[in-house]
């Protein structure tokens, strides 16, 4: 896409790049940690700075109170009887706690540039990523280039603590937030040569199973042999939930799983995934997953069941000769379309009840997390976004599915009926949530360009 308008914008982005980086550093100086009350002041100051900055760009900006941290809402100016499409851009100004501080090479809220890397807490997750979108809009507004669509930035301050206020906010403002799609840059791309669009997310649900045996820890000598050990019963129940082919054995578990299309499988096969590097990076000598699927498919496009924790009996050093009174496991299941947490949990509970031995008493607590998400990679919005990635990065983008769950995507879908386009600008080695978080400034430049190209690409289909 090389219209004269786009040339103007590209030039603007190029000319002002140095200032953009300085502004991003300003933004990163705020310790806007949402999980720790000690940072409350830094969080409030950060939201105010972002509001002021968005207004300076030319966006109509309001800072909205919620039950938690405020949401910054910033809109492009609109004319009456507007017929343009409308897109939301989601981001979050809150960041993960910086601890452990001693592992940072320089202080987390004193941004430092080394080569193409800008080090600071929140640089990649998520300030740098949504700042790229803000700067692209600035380019449109300052060069007086007409945007082919209306844009509303929704930038919240509670993402790192589970976005507890977002759903209510979206619901309250659902009329003015009605849109043709949501753009979110909060996922990963493999590298500068691998711009990536994520078109699916796994859903999540979890259960906690507690097996109660004797009414107290029993002496394993005096009682051992005549009483069922609840830790053994738990092992026996959990062991049979995944077979040697990596399949989950809960009856009906796979009934609603949408098969991967040949198009998807070939798209996922293009990922630059190196099994040996992967094994080395996580320190295992062999991978293990569902037979018949590649590791990329296993960890993103297939459901799974993982034990997150086991607790029973003696935990400390040395021995204690007991039959424990109880044993507990915490388990999460990752779901893919069209599984639902509710149905999967119902199947799971029914199965556990069936396989539970009469020699122990079982208690199950369940929690439905979020639905899996999937938008057709062959849809016009996705195709338009892929074009924008091609424009900006100058190479063929990858289609990906995320193994994790982003509950807000589910909320945009449920409340606003809007699909999300996940256009991640984080590199795998950006250390999100870890010490020495960084953001790649080349990706930042490509990201601004991608955002600038995205709006005409998306809007052409709505005209």
């Amino acid at each position: 896409m090389c219209s004269p308008d786009m040339e103007k914008i590209k030039n603007y982005l190029h000319q002002h790049r140095g200032r953009f980086v300085r502004e991003l550093c300003e933004y990163l100086r705020f310790p806007s940690v949402s999980a720790d009350a000690r940072y409350r002041r830094g969080l409030g100051a950060c939201a105010k700075w972002l509001t002021t900055h968005s207004r300076k760009i030319g966006l109509n900006t309001e800072l909205y109170r919620t039950n938690g941290n405020p949401v910054v809402l910033a809109c492009t100016p609109r004319r009456a009887r507007n017929q343009k499409p409308h897109y939301l851009v989601y981001g979050h100004y809150d960041v993960q706690p910086p601890e452990p501080l001693e592992l940072w090479k320089t202080p987390p809220f004193q941004p430092r540039i080394v080569g193409h890397s800008l080090f600071a807490r929140g640089a990649s997750d998520n300030k740098g990523q949504h700042f790229a979108h803000l700067k692209a809009v600035e380019a449109y507004l300052r060069t007086r280039t007409e945007l082919p669509c209306d844009l509303t930035f929704v930038i919240e301050g509670e993402e790192e603590v589970g976005s507890p206020s977002l759903a209510a906010f979206l619901y309250r403002h659902r009329a003015r937030l009605r849109c043709d799609g949501v753009v979110i840059s909060d996922t990963t791309l493999y590298g500068l040569q691998y711009p990536t669009l994520s078109y699916g997310l796994r859903g999540i649900c979890d259960f906690e199973i507690t097996l109660h045996g004797p009414n107290r820890d029993l002496h394993s000598g005096t009682f051992g042999g005549a009483v069922k050990n609840p830790a053994m019963a738990l092992c026996q129940m959990l062991a049979q939930m995944r077979d040697e082919h990596g399949r989950i054995t809960i009856p009906g578990f796979y009934d609603d799983v949408r098969a991967l299309s040949p198009f998807e499988r070939s798209a996922l096969a293009l990922h630059p995934f190196d099994t040996d590097d992967y094994k080395k990076s996580i320190g295992v000598s062999e991978l293990f997953g569902e037979v018949g699927f590649t590791p990329v498919e296993q960890r993103s496009a297939r459901p799974t069941l993982e034990i997150n924790g086991l607790t029973s009996g003696h935990q400390g050093e040395g021995g204690k000769t007991i039959i424990p009174s109880w044993a507990r496991a915490k388990v999460t299941m990752r779901l893919v379309p069209h599984q639902t947490p509710e149905k999967i949990l119902a199947l799971t509970v029914a199965h556990l009840k069936k396989i539970c031995l009469p020699t122990v008493r079982m208690k199950i607590a369940t929690a439905a997390g979020s639905d899996p998400y999937w938008v057709s990679p062959e849809s016009t919005n996705v195709q338009a976004a892929l074009d924008a990635l091609r424009d900006a990065f100058g190479c063929e983008p990858l289609l990906a599915r995320e193994g994790g769950s982003i509950p807000i995507v589910d909320e945009f879908k449920q409340i606003l009926k809007a699909d999300s386009l996940l256009l991640g600008l984080a590199l795998p080695d950006d250390n999100a949530h870890s010490p020495n978080e960084k953001f790649n400034l080349e990706v930042f430049s490509k990201g601004m360009l991608m955002s600038a190209c995205l709006w005409p690409r998306l809007s052409q289909f709505r005209k």
Copy 2:
């Protein structure tokens, strides 16, 4: 056995019973807790009191230093060219910590008599039990009745902390401790109508298995599906170690197990074991054990494998979406003759290595505890002891096997080549190791009588 000598002794025991109880109360006033350094003074004073008391009875008594707490050694006077058989009586003057103090109805070291129960810490475990033997010997000595054997009391002060100094003591004094048997009253009888001789103990060994998966806890969304979860691997390995018939599946595990003889099975069948009461007392609705054996056999005469603790990943409240980096189990196995801890551990490790998946790394730590113990219930010593129980209690005694392990029995066997006769005087509701420990004074009387009858019964076979 109603010789004129025995009548004299019976009368003495009867006449002085009130004083014996007062002396036992004196003995119980010493807070001789071995596990807690704050009680060191009480422990030393207790050992001195016991030494003085034994001398007063007429025993040649010495207080021997060890690396830990002293051992009281008290012998009946011997003549030169002595041809009498020699028996040891083992006991321990140290007691369990009394905590939690708030659960005691009266202070643990202020003995209190209610009906036939003498409440105090150590009343049953073990001061009252070995005091009965001391008083029986006093009866012989004070009535100038010739003992048909020599006796040596070995009363240590570290039983409740695992008897760390006893083996060295026995080895050092092995010449003068050479004997024809060891009498130990430190086990349980079902009730006054069920005097009990325990002719077997289970051995014990344990292992700790740790499975290492990824080099850190991994995000269960990003990684879940392509990596073996070590908690699941642990469950799968442990689950298959005991089958649905309660059998341990380690190849060769049962090879050395001595089958229960018809004599033993019919003896064990006489136990007043009520399955419903048992289930109620431990709070389970169904028992579980090795098919083909009664609960009494399962918990005492058959080997077992019990998980004592499971630890992996998230332990606290709420959820944490991880694949844990490692998972650990602590396991004890109880052994029966002629299994040995060394061989069973070797078989276990070989089996674990065989079933361990290549997708995890395994570390195993093992510890051999003690050998199982068994003396033929048809042997002359056991038959003599059963006669003494008949004499004293006036009813048919039970033969039992203990499910637990008493390492000192193994040490007497290994170091002195001596078999032990376990003639327990503790009732199941004596609250050993618990608040409100008590000793039944009727059992005390019967115990003194049993001890008095025991020496002629035992010695007749050695004459």
